[in-house]
Symmetry: C2
């Protein structure tokens, strides 16, 4: 375990990137203002959020009933977190005014004892902490604490932090192993990683310990969710009446003590949020046991249960993992939030141990599933990221209703849009880490950073053509004379070779765990030029992955590609890619800078004379055709139609 420390969030990285900056601007100029209006129920035609109204009622500022989901508060908290990152990058008086207004409102809604939750304050005042399995009370608190920690670390402002400390102290008073306290944990993990962030913001060890309590209490006997269920009369928040079965322990990752868990199970978002907190605790408490569990759970996901786009969650039923190698393409869930959580987990694993698989998966999920989640206008979102879509089946087959082929406006349960906003606003935190002797470059996202290293603070500038052009460069823009150190560059799995030059001279890096280490006494003005191999490549799955065996997918750089009906005649399933076809690159005519792929393909057609029969003894006719592949991140931006990531490979 290394003592690699995170660069402090937001303090030192400014993103200026050809691919991501437009998304960040969308968040700043469109998403956050739009969400602010949505939180205030001022979007005509959209389902009202009710989030602000609930806070006003809880604060006694207006009359009314609580409305919305029991965790509706988090819509505002995630917005606050995203806004805080934006204010950390560049001040904006209007946005700052909105954050301060929200902070005052939340402060007014907080109870005297520190408790904060509008649902229980307004709708069920006597029922605090009686249904943690369903009601997400600690989850909601966690999102507030994350927002407060982000605001403090980005801007130094303490208005939210003061509320968060009061809230966290209240939770610490209620929960813990001591007699009289509740030995419980939340149905939706989030408080754990939030408390770690609060510890990092405040230095208060008790928050780290409380996070550790929640992590280690989960899965202990007797089962808290069963005790709690019995105690409240076997009811569920989500279904009327007395229930026959208690909450599922697997679904809540509470089937075993977390240290004994080896397989990712249950609700995918909750799982990865928990694993992220476990990785934090492993690092901050030098906990080898938790690290070992994290490695196993990581491997369970990425070697057994992850889609080729970095999506996770094979089934919409419970938005959950299923079993190893069960990755159906046409019914998967692969929620945008789950891939965001996987990125959280990956980043924290990189802080524990620098190994390129973490960076590769972080990049894969970011450039594909997260990027696909948001439309080019910033106002439409995919929650579910299918590997295959067929619009008629989405309408006509109830098992596929969750698969949308057009991004949707703000939803009733608005989890993914604000989650994407907070990730995109804090993208700077995912590019670099350092441990004084090494500066690690995990993602090739254009940016400027200041990093504390042996002997002083280095200023660097990363310029990048990723994901479209196979080149990047790192310039040392400022560096006090000092000791030598390494710049360690991730060698992406998608690049078969990596050419490195320092000031025009070929470099000879030391390769360790998929990173190229360049060790020298760096000087101001030094430039590393990085040349990737970015030819289109075919991807094959493990033969145990039944849904994809005999099929092929295409990748170029970090981008996974797919077929869309906008370019290729439906049914896409009738198309195949011959193993000998050359794949060529063409510029997109509808997405600036994007590279599309083309190849000669084959299409199976019914023999004409018996077009109406469903089954026949004569084989279909093979025709030649042209295939056009678009980056998965960009699908669904033209018209609704079929889409497929995997297609058959023919000889």
């Amino acid at each position: 375990m290394s003592d690699n420390n995170a660069t402090k969030p937001g303090t030192s990285v400014r993103v200026e990137d050809g691919y991501w900056t437009p998304y960040q601007r969308l968040v700043r100029n469109t998403v956050l203002p739009y969400q602010w209006e949505a939180l205030h129920d001022r979007i005509a035609g959209a389902e009202p959020s009710r989030a602000i109204a609930n806070f006003r009622i809880a604060a006694g500022l207006q009359e009314g009933r609580f409305e919305g989901f029991v965790f509706q508060d988090t819509d505002l908290y995630k917005w606050l977190e995203a806004a805080s990152y934006q204010l950390g990058s560049a001040f904006d008086p209007e946005l700052e005014r909105q954050v301060e207004e929200a902070a005052r409102l939340i402060g007014a809604a907080q109870q005297a004892d520190g408790y904060l939750n509008t649902y229980f304050t307004v709708a069920e005042p006597g029922k605090r902490w009686t249904n943690l399995a369903d009601c997400h009370e600690l989850y909601s608190a966690g999102h507030f604490i994350e927002a407060a920690a982000a605001r403090y670390s980005c801007t130094g402002k303490t208005d939210l932090l003061d509320i968060a400390v009061k809230l966290a102290d209240h939770i610490d008073f209620e929960f813990g192993p001591e007699p009289g306290k509740l030995r419980g944990y939340d149905g939706h993990q989030e408080i754990e990683l939030a408390l770690v962030r609060l510890y990092e913001a405040t230095g208060e060890r008790k928050y780290l310990d409380l996070a550790g309590f929640f992590i280690d209490e989960r899965g202990q006997k007797p089962d808290f969710f069963h005790l709690e269920w019995e105690k409240r009369g076997r009811t569920s928040h989500w279904h009327p009446g007395v229930q026959k079965t208690p909450p599922s322990l697997h679904y809540h990752q509470a089937h075993l003590p977390v240290r004994e868990q080896e397989t990712a199970v249950g609700h995918a978002v909750r799982a990865v949020y928990m694993y992220a907190a476990m990785a934090d605790l492993a690092r901050l408490r030098q906990d080898e046991g938790l690290l070992a569990a994290c490695r196993k759970l990581w491997s369970s996901i990425v070697h057994k249960q992850m889609y080729v786009t970095g999506g996770i969650g094979s089934t919409p039923i419970g938005e959950a993992f299923t079993i190893d190698y069960d990755l159906p393409n046409d019914t998967n869930y692969s929620e945008t939030c789950a891939s965001i959580g996987l990125i959280f987990f990956a980043r924290r694993m990189l802080l524990l141990e620098v190994s390129s698989e973490y960076g590769d998966i972080m990049e894969l999920a970011l450039y594909n599933t997260v990027s696909s989640g948001m439309s080019a206008d910033g106002k439409h979102y995919f929650y579910v990221n299918p590997m295959e879509a067929w619009p008629e089946a989405s309408r006509g087959n109830p098992g596929k209703h969750h698969i949308k082929t057009e991004r949707q406006a703000w939803y009733g349960c608005a989890c993914c849009p604000p989650n994407a906003a907070r990730l995109l606003s804090s993208l700077g935190h995912y590019i670099f880490t350092s441990d004084n002797e090494n500066l690690y470059v995990h993602l090739y996202i254009g940016s400027e950073a200041e990093v504390q290293l042996v002997g002083g603070k280095a200023a660097i500038k990363l310029e990048s053509g990723i994901p479209w052009k196979p080149e990047a460069s790192l310039t040392i823009t400022d560096l006090p004379a000092g000791n030598p150190f390494s710049i360690a560059l991730r060698m992406p799995a998608w690049s078969s070779t990596l050419r490195l030059e320092i000031n025009g001279q070929e470099a000879d890096p030391d390769i360790r765990s998929g990173y190229a280490y360049l060790y020298r006494r760096w000087e101001q003005g030094d430039v590393i030029d990085i040349g990737f191999a970015m030819e289109p490549r075919r991807i094959y799955s493990h033969p145990q992955l039944r849904a994809d065996v005999g099929k092929v997918a295409l990748q170029r750089g970090p981008m996974i590609f797919c077929l869309e009906e906008a370019d290729n005649e439906a049914p896409l399933a009738a198309l195949s890619l011959p193993s000998v076809s050359e794949i060529t690159e063409v510029p997109s005519e509808w997405s600036t800078g994007a590279v599309l792929l083309q190849a000669r393909g084959e299409r199976l057609r019914a023999p004409l004379e018996e077009e109406t029969s469903l089954y026949r003894h004569s084989p279909p006719v093979v025709e030649s055709c042209k295939l056009t592949f678009v980056p998965y991140a960009l699908w669904g931006n033209r018209r609704s139609g079929e889409m497929a990531v995997w297609l058959r490979e023919s000889l």
Copy 2:
């Protein structure tokens, strides 16, 4: 429209067939006695049926509460129908005693006004006819009427028929277009075809008219199921509390007047029961409009929505049809009862117009899905007949929980086992029809029959090697001297050629609509020898059938084949059948008489050096292997494991 009349059920056909007689004996010697015990809750370890107990409570013979499904009565009714067919074939004093005992009990449970339903009599006495959408009152009545008609036509006994007439008269009093009557229809179609049978048994035209009323009322505006739902306060029998949405009209085939329906939609069993009644009415009332609708709905099923095994119902959600060409292999429902209903529909279409597609589909569904539904011991059943099974996914993926890889004992909702029993017991009704000038042979099932033809009653004997041996023969065992007539033999779609000899001389039939007509003055002792082509054949799907494109299935005679893990290494998805592989026949070592198929296949393996990665850039390694295919009807009779009907075809 021909005036082809049905041979009267059970009067004249005795089955003696190598394949089916063992199943029929199982029904007689095992299934019916077992079900009789189950109906009486006397099977140790099984979930109690409660059917008899409910009748005893309704009859005032014992105290207690109603238990079981709202349509639990039908378990007894289907048993009675099956028992009646068996008693028509051969008398059995113990079985007759049981039927008479049941008849007395049902008579005692019938209300003074003719009403018969133990749920509403015992549990909700004031709520008759208030929830036809959910509560299956007319459906239950229909099954009783079918049993009564079967008993009467097979044995001439009127004990059940008297109750049925009283019940049908009561329904006729309550329902109809006249003022003061209920203009409604049942959520689960069944009463319609039952009333037709009652008409055929009694000659009473009013029952046919009432069936016609139910058929033509469905789908009229205003929507009965919505009116009824509003009237009872928007409740559902199946879910507590007030419901947000009314019953689905599509699910109930009530979205359009039936004559305007062109696409099979909704719950598959209900749909085909309704189409069967429509075909009956089209025939008996010479109704061209209904015939046209029947042809369209038939085509919608068999040309767009049917599995290659004759299974129907693509989704477990609502046990329903979805959309054209949406036939997923690993999540389909294909309930045994739905294929039984498809056989009902096919037989009735044959009575309307003799065309081999009806016979082909009837045979396909019978030899594959229905046959697969029952285990070799007669006590275990598949309700769901998947095209692909993977036991671990059935356990670990909630979207696949309905896919079982081992047949289950008697279920709580025991619809399929007694439905299979009544079909198998009445198999004789599906083999022949006649219209005085033609004797039609639809199925090649060994049997002896007496048929009324021009000039007299002919006795014939059909001997058959189907499904294993490619030969059959038809002997005229008795025939009064008389006029010439045709014997019309179905030319199965699976047989590329058909060789016919009459008394050893090659015959030259007239071919019309897939039947070979042999017209002559037949004499006692004449023998027709029929030689089929039964080589193994590859089946391909229409390319719009996305789940099967690029794949192949195997057929030999009427049997569809599949791969099982008992013979082939999992994952089966990694196997393919080269297009050049020769397919050979081998005798089964575990199922007497059965023919298995073998071929050289290919298996994709992960390159050894990177076994753990889920995705890789190197293509999998191809290995040669031997493939063994077993008849789909016999799958799941050894051990639990993977199964697949379709596999990839490689070059």
